[in-house]
């Protein structure tokens, strides 16, 4: 038997989480280093997966399969396609930066008992989330996926509710009330989505008799598994609802701004750049493969909702006073683009959407983490409390600008490529939607540049005059992300090469071919 690489990639952070949690209370720093080392080792494993993956090979590679719960027809089945590989790599890449950026976020306050170990808990929870996210990218068994899709809510919930920004304008107790509100909102939204999906998962089992994604998809493709149209649509809606909450799609998005606003910047990155990707990924992997007919049936409505997300998210981002909330609404706009790309049902659209997931992860991580560094210096999240930062902290301001420009898809930075692909892919099939969506980019320029202008330029506010520039640890977080943004902006081929074959497969699952370009004959 070959080495179970996929299991190891998910198990390593899980073991690391347990080990980190077990570090004695006094050895806080050791816990931090342990978490960092584990996350780097996981990155090494993820890179091994990336290298071992053959884009031209079988659809699912590095597969593992063991019977798990025979009574339910559940197996522990793992396998990755190009999309999953890219997202596993993204996750494993971001976690070390998240750990490093959150280095001091969970240092204990003076309250609490001798055994209260928030620091250990913080890093253990981050690693636990990583493990669960990775295994849900790898799972080719619907039940296995569902379990971790749901279970990851618990560590995430504690991360949002238990740890927040230190300084708060209304004092610690108001902050803790708002935090727990945000955490409960996050959990309830996602739990309701997940429970509705549970009903659909059970329904799928009743129809199909097992949970294997590959078997069901195959049986659907060659016609041995017939589903009544209404059944298929109900099941699709059950699955899609859960993913749309997680992604999040308008009008199920309202948990995201609260959650991102109240949590610390690294945790906010974990939410938007890592957890939410599971939602969009699952749309590609489960909705389209298991319910191709229903996916096509629902396309007009989903595209409309995605369009609303794009414009609504961008418009609300323009009006925000809170930096983190602004980034949250910007993310909602970007998730609109991703979902639009997926359901445009063209290969450019879906490649673009996958690429978008990766690029959005990197660019939002950069933007949010730098914003977090900024907020930790001044102790305020309000845009109005800043001004003229670029004169006191030029490196911070400069990197913030680059990250911001990547968010508005400036050509030459990574998100441009994906956004362009999504728009082109949408335009070839639905020109009107493609055109309207373009306004999202215009609004993106507005909210990004206004944010930069108000915080970084202008006269130096007295409160920020003593603000130190980025420290070495913070530079170590920011610099690699910026380099990646530039690199993938100029040369996206490594990612697209891995993603494209998988996208072609997904397209053929839904029996879709790209529309042929038509040229009106010259008269």
């Amino acid at each position: 038997m070959s080495f179970p690489l996929l299991t190891a990639t998910a198990a390593l952070p899980a073991v690391g989480a347990v080990a980190t949690a077990a570090v004695p209370a006094a050895r806080r720093t050791a816990a931090k280093w342990l978490a960092l080392v584990v996350s780097l080792a996981t990155l090494a494993l993820a890179i091994t997966v990336l290298v071992r993956f053959d884009p031209g090979g079988a659809r699912y590679q590095l597969t593992e399969s063991h019977s798990w719960i025979k009574e339910f027809g559940v197996s522990y089945a793992l396998g990755v396609d190009g999309i999953a590989v890219a997202l596993i790599a993204l996750t494993a890449l971001l976690i070390p930066f998240i750990v490093l950026a959150g280095w001091h976020d969970a240092d204990p306050l003076e309250t609490g008992s001798r055994r209260w170990r928030p620091t250990q808990g913080f890093f253990a929870l981050i690693l636990a989330v990583e493990a669960m996210v990775i295994i849900s990218f790898e799972a080719t068994d619907v039940f296995l996926f569902y379990i971790f899709f749901e279970a990851m809510l618990i560590p995430m919930y504690f991360l949002i509710g238990g740890f927040g920004d230190r300084a708060h304008e209304h004092g610690e107790s108001a902050a803790s009330t708002q935090r727990s509100y945000a955490a409960v909102k996050f959990l309830l939204y996602n739990l309701v989505g997940g429970l509705i999906m549970l009903a659909a998962v059970i329904g799928l089992y009743v129809v199909a008799g097992n949970f294997s994604l590959t078997e069901i998809a195959q049986a659907r493709a060659n016609g041995t598994l017939h589903m009544a149209t209404s059944t298929e649509r109900w099941l699709f809606l059950g699955f899609f609802f859960a993913f749309a909450v997680k992604a999040p799609l308008w009008p199920l998005h309202t948990w995201l701004p609260n959650a991102m606003q109240e949590s610390t910047a690294p945790v906010a990155v974990l939410i938007t750049a890592v957890i939410d990707k599971v939602g969009t990924f699952a749309m590609l992997r489960f909705c389209l493969q298991l319910f191709p007919g229903a996916s096509k049936w629902a396309t007009p409505v989903i595209l409309a909702l995605a369009l609303v997300s794009i414009l609504y998210g961008a418009l609300l981002a323009v009006g925000q006073r809170d930096i983190k909330r602004l980034i949250a609404y910007a993310s909602i706009s970007h998730f609109g683009f991703i979902i639009m790309g997926i359901f445009a049902m063209t290969s450019q659209g879906q490649s673009g959407a996958t690429l978008y997931m990766v690029n959005h992860g990197i660019s939002t991580a950069a933007l949010m983490l730098i914003a977090g560094f900024l907020i930790s210096r001044r102790g305020s999240r309000l845009i109005a409390d800043y001004g003229g930062v670029q004169k006191v902290a030029p490196v911070l301001a400069g990197t913030f600008l680059i990250a911001g420009l990547s968010t508005l898809s400036l050509p030459g930075l990574a998100p441009f490529v994906s956004e362009f692909l999504v728009l082109v892919g949408t335009f070839t099939r639905h020109p009107a939607i493609g055109i309207i969506a373009t306004f999202g980019i215009v609004l993106a320029a507005l909210y990004t540049l206004v944010l930069y202008q108000r915080t970084m330029t202008g006269p130096v506010k007295p409160e920020v005059s003593a603000m130190p520039d980025l420290r070495v640890r913070e530079l170590a977080v920011v610099a690699p992300l910026i380099v990646l943004l530039v690199f993938l902006g100029v040369y996206p081929k490594p990612v697209t090469d891995i993603v494209n074959p998988a996208v072609k497969q997904t397209m053929s699952d839904v029996h879709q071919t790209d529309p042929k370009p038509e040229v009106e004959a010259a008269k």
Partner: protein, 549 residues
């Protein structure tokens, strides 16, 4: 009626007397129940003859040995093939020894054992006059607040009678799900109910509340028993027999040897419908299903917490076992009549329990309403009327009982000057003060909420799957919705424990003896194992899922 008819009636009644054989009792197959009953009697003798200071140790020892021995007997029977390859109706048709019986008996015995550990805990309450005390009244007969109570406390009396009472209750519960005729069912019902009524009244603290709870439980319970008994009488009139198999045959329309005295009523569907409804009603009362749930919150809150934990777990197991057997063995022929009714009961139970729980401010009442919601989920599996339905209910019961006992054991640890601090506001910030206890309780709450990787999820999934396969898709959807509602209040408690600031005069967490620690540890272990690797136990439940008739 003519004289001749009376005469012939008299002779037919008298005639078989000469032919009565000595009843044949399969002692081996009945050994789990017999061991427990024997030990309970030994416990009574211990009360009478052993000096007061060593009674506690003697009672705990006898009870623990008996529960372990009875569990060993169940395992031996199962290993002998009962429940999988063979089944038997023992004690002249009174007791069924089959898969569901053995599985449920094993579950009841283990929860009895874990419950015993919480009963025997003597480190939580501060010592009174140099004597270590448990959760039970010093002298149940003394009026609360009276001089005689003070004297009893001062003398260091303890109510060691709870241990034989526990054993009697367990014995009744062992018989209840395996009863194979209606009279045995009724006797078992009374055998386990009466000790429970008594134990509810025995709290050391808040005695008036405890006694009130016991009176409520007793009155409503007696009422429900009366219904059951009346139903049994009607069913006898319908079928001419109290034996499950005979009634089932009559329901199916295969009437053999009609009793001339009952010729007028036999086969009368009105009797069947009313009788079955009344018997089922009595069982639904014990299960705590809406609209027969009114006693649950008061009794759960007032009873001594160890008793609440044991009662919540084991009663539910026994009552659902009996309900399953009744519906699957006696009344499968009329499932088109009872299924719609049970649908309704399951729906209001799930939604009612979950919705009312939201407004609760006392942790024991909250868990009581949560147990009502869980009864609704289990009913969804009962309605499936398939083999999967049986095995999913068996699995759910096993998973649920350990979570429940563990959760109530944690409740006993959180204390302030007035005893257990059960008001929710006092639990604020518990996670900061004692992270471990709060984390353990969070695990139990997550299991109640049915979060994946806990036993609660595996159980809920099994039950809903069986229901969906049985065609009850709307029931599954409603179940899922009420799970979401229920999740809200479980999470509220977690929020309170971890994200709220601790109160300055908040409760302290008592350090328990190894007994309670074992109970909680077993709870956590079962919760996690059944959540991560349920395969073995699902398999066991599925092998055990066939009733003998």
């Amino acid at each position: 009626m003519s004289a001749a008819a009376v005469h012939s009636l008299w002779t037919t009644a008298a005639d078989p007397i000469s032919k009565i054989d000595a009843p044949k009792i399969e002692y081996g197959q009945l050994s789990p129940t017999l061991i427990i009953l024997g030990a309970a009697l030994v416990g009574v003798l211990v009360e009478a003859f052993v000096p007061r200071r060593s009674r506690y140790y003697a009672q705990v020892f006898v009870s623990a040995v008996a529960l372990c021995a009875a569990f060993a007997a169940v395992v031996a029977l199962a290993a002998d093939g009962y429940g999988t390859t063979k089944a038997h109706i023992a004690a002249m048709g009174a007791i069924a020894v089959d898969g569901p019986s053995l599985f449920l008996q094993g579950t009841i015995l283990l929860s009895g054992l874990v419950g015993l550990f919480t009963f025997a805990e003597r480190r939580l309450d501060p010592a009174a006059h140099g004597n270590r005390v448990d959760s039970f009244a010093a002298q149940a007969a003394s009026v609360p607040g009276s001089d005689s109570e003070k004297a009893a406390v001062k003398a260091g009396f303890t109510t060691t009678e709870v241990f034989p009472l526990l054993l009697f209750a367990v014995a009744g519960m062992l018989v209840f799900p395996s009863a194979n005729d209606l009279l045995t069912l009724f006797v078992a019902l009374e055998v386990f109910s009466l000790p429970l009524y008594l134990m509810c009244a025995l709290a050391r603290r808040k005695r008036l509340m405890s006694q009130e709870a016991a009176v409520k439980y007793f009155l409503l319970g007696a009422f429900a028993s009366a219904f059951t008994l009346f139903g049994i009488a009607l069913l006898y009139g319908y079928a001419g027999s109290v034996s499950y198999a005979t009634i089932a045959q009559v329901v199916d329309g295969n009437v053999t040897n009609v009793d001339p005295a009952l010729a007028g009523t036999m086969g009368n569907d009105a009797l069947l419908l009313v009788g079955a409804a009344m018997v089922v009603m009595g069982l639904l009362f014990k299960v705590g299903a809406v609209p027969f749930h009114m006693w649950t919150p008061d009794v759960y809150q007032g009873a001594p917490t160890p008793v609440t934990g044991f009662m919540a777990a084991a009663t539910k197991v026994a009552a659902f076992g009996a309900l399953l057997r009744l519906l699957y063995v006696v009344l499968p022929g009329m499932r088109w009549d009872w299924r719609p009714v049970m649908w309704g009961v399951a729906i209001v139970t799930m939604l009612g329990g979950a919705i009312v729980a939201i407004t609760q401010t006392d942790i024991k009442r909250l868990l009581a309403y949560s147990s009502i919601a869980h009864a609704g989920f289990i009913l969804a599996g009962v309605i499936a009327t398939s083999k999967d339905g049986v095995s999913s209910v068996l699995f759910y019961l096993a998973a649920y009982s350990f979570v429940t006992i563990g959760a109530f054991a944690v409740v006993t640890l959180v204390r302030d000057a007035g005893g257990e601090a059960t008001h929710l506001s006092k639990w604020a910030g518990l996670g900061r003060r004692s992270p471990l206890v709060a984390a353990v309780f969070a695990v139990f709450l997550l299991a109640f909420a049915g979060i994946p990787l806990t036993s609660g999820f595996a159980g809920k999934f099994a039950v809903f799957k069986a229901a969906a396969e049985g065609g009850a898709v709307p029931l599954v959807v409603i179940g899922v919705i009420s799970s979401a509602i229920a999740a809200f209040f479980y999470i509220r408690v977690i929020v309170l424990m971890f994200f709220s600031e601790p109160r300055p005069e908040g409760p302290t967490v008592a350090v328990p003896s190894p007994l309670t620690m074992t109970a909680i540890g077993v709870g956590v272990a079962v919760t996690v194992v059944l959540g991560v690797a349920p395969q073995y136990f699902l398999n066991l439940a599925s092998q055990a899922g066939v009733f003998v008739r």
